[in-house]
């Protein structure tokens, strides 16, 4: 399931209401509910159980995966040797997959956010011929599913000789109609017209106003768009699957699924070593994502606030 990402603006909206309303709400509902807390802790257990299993499983040899209970350690934990095996398998291709993923996701996210910011600012602060038509065209594209575009894009890229290059994965990820929509809303409020006028009076050119003044004011919105595009590209499977056939170019998703297929074809029996590598490789690859999520979570929430409120 691929997600299109809501997001946007006003890191302020959510926060502005927060302190006093929270305090007031707390004082009126001072008591905590133990039954509700227990129910929600049970819910939490469901969401964390698979991750706990993965953590345990990554310490096991393939034999132990079969022979020991899944939700607890075996007698001979071997996390370090699993990690070493993961990084040395197939001449260290796993490390390449990680680097490829960082490259594809990083370039796509930064590029998409900058393109969306410039265009969103252009739509918010200028009027020109075809303004409304161009904006509505992009808005209409929000609902076009990316996978419906992927196959024709592949056919076009095949003609242009772009298939099986990093560009094949990066280029389609650079355009985010939803990101543009959100940046436009954000720019309407975040960059005051008076500020632009004042800068013009001082003789600043339009481009200079954008890069020195507007871009800084747009920064919180930019971070949200970067985050959403980053996750979308990091998670992308369908596009790199059809675009790339050189294992050295795979991102982590396609790489791990190819290992998983090998493990499966090896009979999935205890004799196949691939299984432990798939499990350990999965575990390693989600650690940076989970940490980044937890650190950046306030951006998610504030960004999502306007995505869901301002309609």
């Amino acid at each position: 399931m691929t997600t299109v990402t809501p997001t946007a603006s006003t890191a302020g909206t959510a926060k502005r209401v927060e302190p006093e309303s929270r305090a007031l709400r707390r004082s009126s509902a001072h008591r905590r509910s133990t039954p509700l807390t227990i129910v929600m802790l049970a819910v939490l257990a469901y969401f964390l159980l698979p991750l706990f299993w993965l953590l345990i499983a990554s310490t096991k040899s393939t034999q132990d995966l079969f022979n020991s209970f899944g939700l607890w350690f075996s007698h001979a934990p071997q996390l370090l040797s699993n990690i070493k095996a993961t990084f040395t398998q197939d001449d260290g291709v796993y490390g390449r997959w990680l680097l490829n993923t960082v490259l594809y996701a990083g370039v796509s996210a930064l590029g998409a956010a900058l393109l969306a910011a410039a265009a969103g600012y252009g739509f918010a602060k200028y009027r020109f011929r075809g303004h409304g038509a161009a904006f509505n065209l992009v808005l209409g594209a929000i609902m076009i599913p990316t996978t419906a575009l992927a196959i024709p894009t592949y056919l076009l890229f095949a003609k242009a000789g772009l298939v099986n290059t990093p560009w094949a994965v990066i280029l389609p990820s650079l355009i985010s109609p939803f990101g543009l929509y959100l940046m436009r809303i954000y720019a309407e409020d975040a960059v005051p017209d008076s500020l632009i006028e004042a800068a013009r009076m001082d003789g600043a050119g339009e481009l200079r106003i954008f890069t020195t003044i507007a871009l800084r004011l747009l920064a919180p919105g930019l971070v949200t768009v970067v985050l959403f595009t980053l996750v979308a590209t990091w998670n992308n499977y369908f596009l790199p699957l059809i675009m790339l056939n050189d294992p050295n170019l795979y991102p982590i998703t396609v790489g791990l699924s190819s290992w998983a297929a090998q493990a499966q074809n090896g009979g999935a029996g205890a004799s196949s070593d691939m299984l432990a590598l798939v499990v350990t490789g999965s575990m390693i690859s989600i650690i940076p994502l989970v940490i980044a999520f937890l650190l950046l979570q306030r951006y998610w929430q504030s960004g999502l606030a306007t995505g869901g409120v301002k309609q």
């Binding site: 807390t37 939490l44 499983a57 011929r129 109609p177 996750v231 989970v290 309609q311």
Partner: protein, 305 residues
């Protein structure tokens, strides 16, 4: 799209602004050029390809709407679309209802450890769907999945998560696991923007917690719910990653036309029928756009009514 368009307030174009119009056009130019090349061109190309057929004799021939006629009678495509529609009808309400309950629970202020619970439920969204599916695939598995192990120790028959009758439910569980937290955060963020005065006024009128949830919180959540529903339509109908990975674990249950998107993939890359693949992609895109618009229109009508 009506909802979203009305959202963007249209500031009146002052003559002063118009004077700088060229600069504005330059700001949007990079985006629009790439948009033309990477969105509209593939779309147009798919439409063009769908009108032709590769013939053994004579090469590429114009066949009008023949491919569409074939597609609309193609039992594999119809079955695939039917299955994702069923998936949508069952999985999405469950997922959104859970997300709504969790968001209301978090917002109620009644929870201990609220922050830990909120982050814990959101964390699966950080896990790429490929890895989530591999993980759940192993958990479901009859060999070393903990569910099979526990039932074996208890001398019970192992649950058949990967069998034909359970598969759609097992897929729904994976997708729910991945996206409940994401939807919960959207709804929770919307709840937190409700001004405190509303609650005070309601409390003064003697409204209890349930009454406040029903009469203040739910109506305020409508735009956020519409948004989550819209993204769920797009996600469900495109279902690909999860079934395509579980196919390797349960090849007898998931065939190459299990979902519409899997079918498009196999037509394009396994049987290499380019023109027909373009047709299938186009139809799938059309179905998604129609269902999305239908939801937006009903949501809008309810709001104005």
């Amino acid at each position: 799209m009506a909802t979203i368009t009305t959202a963007v307030a249209r500031p009146k174009a002052s003559p002063r602004r118009r004077r700088h119009g060229t600069a504005g056009a330059l700001f949007i130019a990079p985006f629009m050029v790439l948009f033309l090349l990477l969105f509209l061109a593939p779309l147009g190309y798919a439409a063009y390809l769908s009108l032709f057929q590769e013939k053994l004799i004579g090469g590429s021939t114009f066949v009008g709407l023949d491919n569409y006629v074939t597609a609309l009678k193609d039992p594999q495509l119809l079955k695939g679309i039917g299955r994702v529609a069923l998936f949508f009808v069952i999985q999405v309400p469950v997922m959104l209802l859970l997300a709504l309950c969790f968001a209301l629970a978090l917002d109620s202020g009644l929870l201990r450890l609220a922050r830990v619970i909120r982050l814990g439920i959101f964390v699966p969204y950080a896990v790429p769907s490929v890895i989530a599916t591999l993980m759940w695939g192993y958990l479901y598995g009859p060999d070393f999945g903990p569910f099979a192990q526990i039932s074996h120790d208890l001398h019970l028959p192992a649950p058949h998560f990967l069998s034909g009758s359970w598969m759609l439910g097992s897929l729904a569980n994976i997708v729910t696991w991945e996206f409940v937290g994401y939807n919960m955060i959207i709804l929770y963020a919307a709840l937190r923007t409700i001004p405190a005065e509303l609650y005070e006024a309601a409390a003064m009128d003697g409204a209890g917690a349930w009454r406040i949830a029903w009469s203040i919180k739910l109506p305020a959540l409508r735009p956020a719910l519409t948004l989550t529903l819209l993204f769920s339509v797009i996600g469900s109908f495109q279902l690909f990653n999860e079934p395509s990975l579980l196919m390797k674990v349960a090849p007898d249950v998931i065939d190459s036309s299990y979902t519409a998107n899997l079918y498009a993939y196999s037509v394009a890359f396994i049987s290499q029928q380019t023109n027909y693949a373009a047709t299938v992609s186009f139809i799938l895109g059309l179905v998604i756009v129609i269902v999305s618009y239908a939801f937006l229109l009903t949501a809008n009508r309810r709001r104005t009514a």
